[in-house]
Assembly symmetry: C2
Homo-oligomer: 463 residues x 2
């Protein structure tokens, strides 16, 4: 092979191998690289290119990639495999990933894949598939380690060494009673360093923190973050241990939920899907954005009506146009700031709807301080610094300053309160607070801003 | 004690104990509860109340809380303690938390606390304090386990059992050469289950993934997320192992960075600080929001000037007011959507500035689809459904429909492109992309919207 400029990062090495198209080189590089990096490079390719590369690698290399590739990409390659190869792929997957894959499959493909699996696995999957996708149960894995409380350290180590490769996390081992209810946990380090005839009960702690299978996955992630856990046990309604959620799932959940918050706040709907931004098609992006754009456009007609009805006062006092966008924008900006603060605090578990009044009181004060300071700044600017060219009608700059300053203050104070209140109300009505946030608030406070501004102008300037 | 209604959650039990004010009950409940829950309840109190409760508990209980309390609360209680008690607190802290605390202390207090510590710890801290707070080095802990490559399993276990309580994560043990460079890692489970005379080299892997100490903490968190790691080793410029960042730090970093993104997108500046939303004072909240509010207000004057200059055409064609807010808002909404998508994709590590053209091309297409569909909907609404009351001048509805529809389409397409481009440009100039996002974009596209709208109206309606 001709000497290329020496690739430095693993990513570049992978990309180079893919580009070369040489099967041997691809296989060699893929074997040495971390599967997460390989999956990442494959994701960047279009579907045909990816298919060609995947056809060149041995099955067991594909098995390693499955965990890291987005489900749609896995599905696509599965379709091209023989039944035997398909079974081998499914068999190599951890049960939580297999559940995710099955959940994402088109309804007509699912039974076919399920039928391939051995009965025991089918029963297990049927149990897992019962839990909705965004619950703790829908997210858990059943590959964890548990021990009966009446064992000794020697027996415990013997039991564990049978399952050592299957259990995802051996650093947290749950100790259960005969009914499979959690009594506590034991650390692998304590097993490793204790005398072999010590009873398990002597070295276990009695930490029974666990989450109900039907609880929201976000709650599970928050618990893992809060208690710095490596694995959070999941229990059913009889308090029996049925699975665990691991720290890496928690990171994924937190990233997903943050992304969802950010997107909702900007008026982007629907599910993000597993594909990256660039690999999501134009139509799919369009679909997630058009809903709010259309709703908000027609909501903006209300502002239009107010503006139209105010044409008389604008015609009388020309200069009002100059500050109208500022009054409107200040409301939108401060309203979204307040909404964002409240939504994020709720997402981080800092706020409950019960603290409603404390939040509104706090935002009202913030709004008053923000509004009065902004109003004074701009009011003074009008009075002292307005070029004559902008005031052909020679209006009293004192009056204009007062109108602009006061309406800004009132607009900011009211927008801040509205921005803080709406997400709390939404949560109280069991809606996603982020959905009612920024864009909707911006559109609404446009109207209040114009009403305040033109109303005040009518009263004061006409005097 | 009189029987109260049975408290169910740990949180309620803690709150009940605090409320009772009875020292014995507080100590008992605090001892049984998880320190994260206790810290949470304490954080809800005001400073005086918290002081009273903390005075009632024994020192060793406070030591457990330190890790979970926000730094300002820890500082405050430290101030009330004797020098001996202060030293005991500092001594009980993990070195990464101690570094955080020292970094957050007012400059005049730091030397005093540092001077208390034994020399060896001072030297260690001086090393850690060299790294800026938001780098991998500033976030790492030095409490990790490492082993020389030439040991046997028996020697390894003996070495580890000496440090078992100090090493935060024993499930990942790094294997180093004589220069302290990482050769790979070994799992505690493999040590526990291997024959005692196996050489370490036989059971270690050769995974050398690590991060440079001066890299951004966000990069560290992304690596932990990407490779599903429990602990990421941190190396200096000589590739020597100097610390680790753990999975719980990764979660914290990801939450912090997401919060920062969300806040920047809504025009909230500065650092969030460690205190929760409700415990942050009105003035502190005000300070983080006022900057952008003021800047954006004065930027909005540009829109005002455009509007003022357009008064003539508005006077001629009254109806333009009705759709002006819609044209403006549609630009703001689609611009923020595009900006948010791009910013989030960059934060998740999906996009590099090198992919600039692919992003702009994608957003341009999305914008064209969004814009032409929205423009058609609204244009048709104007033509077919506009009540006569809104058209006193009896203008041609065909022309008005074309003006509104076309300017909406042009505004949405251009705003989407601007919204996608600005964050990429910001990143290329090494600015935080989120800072230039939504509010700034909204204000800018207001101007383009009005120019397009009134410009088109002047040409078409006057014909």
């Amino acid at each position: 092979m001709p000497a290329k400029s020496n690739p430095t990062t693993p990513q570049e090495e992978i990309a180079g191998a893919i580009e070369s198209g040489v099967a041997d080189r691809i296989v060699k590089v893929f074997r040495e690289a971390h599967p997460a990096d390989v999956a990442d490079s494959l994701e960047q390719l279009d579907d045909d290119e990816r298919g060609i590369v995947l056809d060149k690698i041995p099955q067991e290399l594909f098995h390693e990639l499955v965990e890291f590739l987005p489900t749609p990409n896995v599905e696509q390659h599965l379709d091209t495999l023989s039944a035997k190869e398909q079974l081998a792929v499914l068999d190599s997957m951890a049960d939580d990933e297999l559940v995710d894959l099955l959940q994402d499959l088109p309804d007509e493909d699912r039974p076919g894949y399920l039928a391939m699996l051995p009965l025991a696995k089918r029963v297990l999957l049927a149990d897992l598939l019962k839990f909705p996708e965004h619950t703790a149960g829908g997210r858990m894995t059943t590959a964890y380690a548990k021990l009966d409380a009446d064992l000794t350290v020697r027996q415990a180590i013997k039991n564990l060494s049978n399952i050592r490769d299957e259990a995802e996390i051996l650093s947290r081992i749950f100790v259960v009673d005969r009914q499979n209810r959690i009594l506590g946990k034991v650390l692998l380090r304590d097993l490793a360093f204790s005398k072999r005839d010590t009873p398990l009960a002597d070295i276990m702690d009695s930490d029974q923190i666990a989450i109900q299978a039907l609880a929201d996955q976000e709650e599970a992630a928050q618990m893992i973050a809060r208690y710095d856990m490596v694995a959070l046990p999941v229990i059913n309604d009889k308090n029996q241990l049925i699975g665990v959620i691991t720290h890496d799932d928690a990171i994924e959940i937190i990233e997903e939920e943050s992304t969802e918050d950010i997107e909702r706040i900007s008026g982007i709907g629907g599910d993000r899907g597993e594909l990256s931004y660039l690999n999501t098609g134009v139509f799919q992006h369009f679909r997630r954005r058009f809903g709010w754009v259309l709703v908000l456009a027609f909501l903006a007609i209300i502002s239009g009506v107010v503006l139209l009805k105010s044409e008389e006062v604008i015609k009388d006092f020309y200069i009002l146009s100059l500050y109208m966008p500022m009054v409107v924008a200040a409301g939108g900006n401060t309203g979204s700031q307040a909404a964002t603060m409240v939504i994020r605090a709720m997402s981080l578990g800092e706020l409950t709807p019960a603290q409603f009044l404390r939040v509104v009181w706090k935002e009202l004060r913030i709004g008053l301080v923000l509004g009065s300071l902004l109003g004074s700044c701009v009011g003074l600017q009008v009075y002292f610094l307005l070029p004559d060219a902008f005031n052909p009608q020679n209006l009293s700059l004192l009056k204009v300053g007062i109108v602009v300053g006061f309406s800004l203050a009132a607009q900011v104070a009211s927008s801040t309160s509205i921005g803080a209140t709406l997400p709390l109300l939404a949560r109280a009505c069991r809606l996603d607070p982020a959905v009612v946030a920024s864009p909707a608030i911006t559109t609404l406070v446009d109207v209040t801003g114009m009403i305040i501004y033109f109303g005040l102008a009518k009263v004061l300037l006409a005097m």
